[in-house]
């Protein structure tokens, strides 16, 4: 069993979106190669304003996002898309328990197996 935070689905969606948005802006700043001071000069505001917008989600508005896009010389695109399950994983889950599969219990495609492989089935299946 695992623990899930007591937070309603609407809050979960908001938290993920707003936090993700903030990260995208920070990443865009890095990729632009510009400093916060340069962004502030382009926007005609004090550097502390740029810093607050980057660090705190409270200062993010549609306008401030558009202004960031202007400063980065980029466009902003917002789309509503169908939900998609994540494809990447670094772990294997089994009945809520985490198990690490080492190389000796690796399976191979098309039903073939490495002749020397020793399977640890109890470990993999528990």
């Amino acid at each position: 069993m695992s623990y899930q935070m007591r937070i309603d689905p609407k809050s979960r969606k908001s938290a993920r979106f707003i936090s993700g948005l903030q990260k995208k802006i920070q990443r865009a700043l890095l990729e632009s190669g510009k400093t916060q001071q340069e962004i502030a000069s382009i926007l005609g505001v004090d550097r502390s304003v740029v810093n607050r917008r980057l660090k705190g989600s409270a200062n993010l508005t549609a306008r401030s996002i558009a202004e960031f896009a202007y400063a980065f010389d980029k466009d902003v695109k917002i789309e509503f898309v169908d939900k998609d399950a994540a494809a990447l994983t670094n772990w294997t889950l089994s009945s809520g328990k985490v198990i690490e599969i080492d190389d000796t219990s690796k399976s191979y495609a098309r039903g073939t197996v490495e002749p020397d492989t020793k399977y640890v089935l109890e470990r993999a299946g528990s």
Partner: protein, 163 residues
């Protein structure tokens, strides 16, 4: 001595799952039972300052936990960082606009949450040192296989990124 899995089975630790159905974890987030009590009891009661964030404290913690588990990069935003202290106790923290979570890294791409508090409380009471010492104490007392924590200082010593 016990593995992380065994500690979860014996209810010393709990896996925190902030993912939606169908999503898979890139990193694992564990918590002590005391931390789970804090998540349920005290975190929702932390006073929210709307000037700090659009998100409430519990939403802030949920968001940073989600991004950790899903494998987001944290190297540039300093929301996941090692606390520098002498001597080094190998304690790391998650930082949100209003909340701090203290814990340690038992193995790469895993984190054990141990204590949480509001940023304002910590600053007013100067309690960083206390939380670092308490986290190290909990780790020392836990029946976890050695080495109990990674001692690397850099981000890449303790996490890999999904993207």
């Amino acid at each position: 001595m016990a593995t992380l899995i065994e500690l979860c089975e014996s209810r010393v630790l709990e896996v925190i799952d902030p993912l939606e159905a169908g999503e898979l974890p890139w990193r694992m987030l564990y918590a002590t039972m005391e931390f789970i009590e804090w998540l349920d009891g005290e975190l929702p009661e932390i006073e929210h300052n709307i000037l700090y964030s659009d998100l409430t404290p519990i939403e802030q913690v949920f968001a940073v936990f989600y991004e950790y588990v899903v494998g987001e990069n944290f190297s540039s935003d300093r929301r996941f960082k090692k606390l520098h202290y002498t001597p080094d106790h190998h304690v790391w923290e998650f930082k949100t606009d209003e909340v701090r979570v203290f814990g340690w890294v038992p193995q790469k791409d895993a984190f054990i949450c141990c204590f949480g508090d509001s940023k304002d409380n910590i600053e007013v009471n100067s309690s960083y040192g206390r939380y670092i010492a308490q986290t190290a104490y909990v780790r020392n007392m836990m029946d976890l296989d050695e080495p109990k924590c990674l001692e690397g200082r850099s981000y890449l010593d303790v996490v890999s990124d999904a993207h």
